[in-house]
Point group: C2
Chain length 336, copies 2
């Protein structure tokens, strides 16, 4: 392959470290995943990141020029300094300056961003944003937790110190269950895989969900996916769990439509598979709660001028959106 420019992307996860080289299109030139050596401490993990970056550089530098290195990490990440803060699954990393650690090892500056922001960035450039011709969006990524990324006019919105996009912790039920973040009743305790498991267990404990009880008896460590499969087969208890997911998403998205009036809201992450289960309730909440959604999407035009639509859609890119975003960032942002 003859390449003019390529980039290297890194996705630092609590379980896996993923590294990719990328040169356009939506296909990686090469991507690898190695376990994150969390037990050996942060220096070992950063050594692994640096040596993978070096190896990719050696492989591709003969045939192409490196536009830059993009690195995604869980949030909160303080920018521009590049310091990690109180990451739930990274004990001992609070206050660690990842930018300094990685740049000193590889001898060049890197592009750093929160992983959910990079997923939104990729979805904007190569997913729904591209498909709809829209470059501003609000994205929620439903996984173990709920991530959030905002793209305005084609750029990641970082806020004043890199911490924008923690909408997974916006409150939906003020007296709801406690979240690991310290808040009660935030989006994450309802719309994450963990939330689905918790709500299923609560229904089982209530004694009125025979389908879920049978599931738990046969598979005590059932997953959110198992609950979704049960819901798809028509089980009323499992369906109620996803109603709650849709309700929580609808409450928070109604507010964000009223406040930001963006053209595009995207739901991504592993739970996107359950879109058909939670989205009817999500849209019902938008219609009853969001003035701006109603004005833009209702057919109430009286003078020949059609309001612009608010799009609320599932993500097109899958689980590698964050890694793809890490690759795209240097290509889009690096000076030519």
């Amino acid at each position: 392959v003859s390449l003019e420019k390529y980039s290297i992307g890194v996705d630092l996860g609590g379980t896996n470290l993923r590294i990719a080289a990328y040169a356009g299109g939506t296909e990686f030139l090469e991507s690898i995943a190695v376990p994150t050596r969390m037990a050996e401490g942060r220096d070992a993990v950063v050594d692994d990141m640096a040596s993978a970056i070096r190896r990719f550089r050696e492989t591709y530098s003969a045939s192409a020029s490196l536009a830059g290195v993009g690195i995604g990490t869980p949030g909160p990440l303080e920018l521009p300094i590049g310091r990690l803060r109180k990451l739930p699954n990274f004990p001992g990393w609070d206050g660690f300056n990842l930018r300094e650690a990685i740049e000193s090892r590889i001898g060049m500056s890197v592009f750093l961003a929160k992983d959910a922001n990079l997923a939104a960035f990729a979805e904007s450039k190569l997913g729904q944003g591209k498909a709809l011709g829209i470059d501003s969006m609000y994205m929620l990524t439903l996984g173990t937790g709920v991530g959030n990324g905002i793209v305005l006019d084609g750029k990641i919105f970082d806020g004043m110190s890199g911490m924008a996009g923690e909408g997974g912790h916006a409150t939906v039920w003020p007296n709801g269950p406690r979240c690991g973040c310290g808040n009660h009743g935030c989006v994450e305790v309802f719309a994450s895989a963990t939330g689905v498991q918790r709500m299923a267990r609560e229904l089982i404990a209530g004694g009125n969900a025979p389908g879920l009880t049978t599931l738990a008896d046969s598979k005590p460590a059932f997953s959110a996916r198992d609950v979704a499969d049960l819901a798809s087969s028509g089980d009323s208890g499992a369906r109620r769990v996803f109603e709650n997911v849709g309700e929580a998403l609808g409450i928070t998205l109604a507010a964000m439509i009223d406040i930001l009036n963006l053209p595009l809201y995207v739901i991504g992450g592993g739970m996107t598979n359950a879109w058909d289960l939670f989205s009817p309730r999500l849209f019902a909440e938008l219609e009853s709660r969001s003035y701006v959604y109603f004005l833009n999407n209702g057919n109430i035009d009286t003078s020949g001028y059609r309001s612009r639509m608010t799009h609320v859609v599932p993500a097109q890119l899958g689980s590698e959106a964050g890694l793809l975003g890490a690759c795209l960032l240097p290509l889009v942002e690096a000076p030519a």
Copy 2:
């Protein structure tokens, strides 16, 4: 007075139409208020706006050049087209193109914006934003309803169609009282003057608020200000009302701090007078609910790098902030 440049600002309210000429500093050259002739229909009101603008132009055009005309209206306002949509107190105006109506009368283009956006713009340029040296902010204006304006990097954030900044209708209690907007439990039903009156009446009906009951007996049409005065004198029922105001504001601002990570959040409007009554609970909610507030404002630094503060403060400008913003907009935005 010798003036180089001046602007004309108009604030279209349901009760009054206010017009001002402005040439810098924070003082108006001249400002007038006339009743909004709502009963005579929208053409009469726009005629009044146009003739006032014309009169101001004639007065000042000899000594200065007009930078432009800024007009503030209640929301929702569709931009850039300039069409009003379903304004609560403007029967018969839904779908009315205010831009076209005013521009054809005065023979020049105007700057149009939602009034709460203009209040935020003024507060950014001449109020707390100026005092703190910060040019991005989220503002809630507590009046009869709750207005919202967002300024990013010194510019009003309009969203895709001018409807951004309806954060007064973000949900805080999903099963709360119904709002005129159609939603249940939004910020406005708790943090507006109307909300204060409603909550006071509910406590009276509950039979356990002797101070409020005495107030209502002596003054059946008591105001939010009356409730505030009673709370300031130590009455526990009245104090509880403002606890609820602070709780609702804290729940919604915690989310907006986590989502936008802005440096400045401002509470303005007539209810700002009650800041001491509602703000302790507001800050308690921020501390327990907002991860980003805690990380930025908590003193948990471990490595010598101090996070940047999130400022949450009362507005400096009073009830003329919206009119001032209408005057400022042409001066800031007009091409030189």
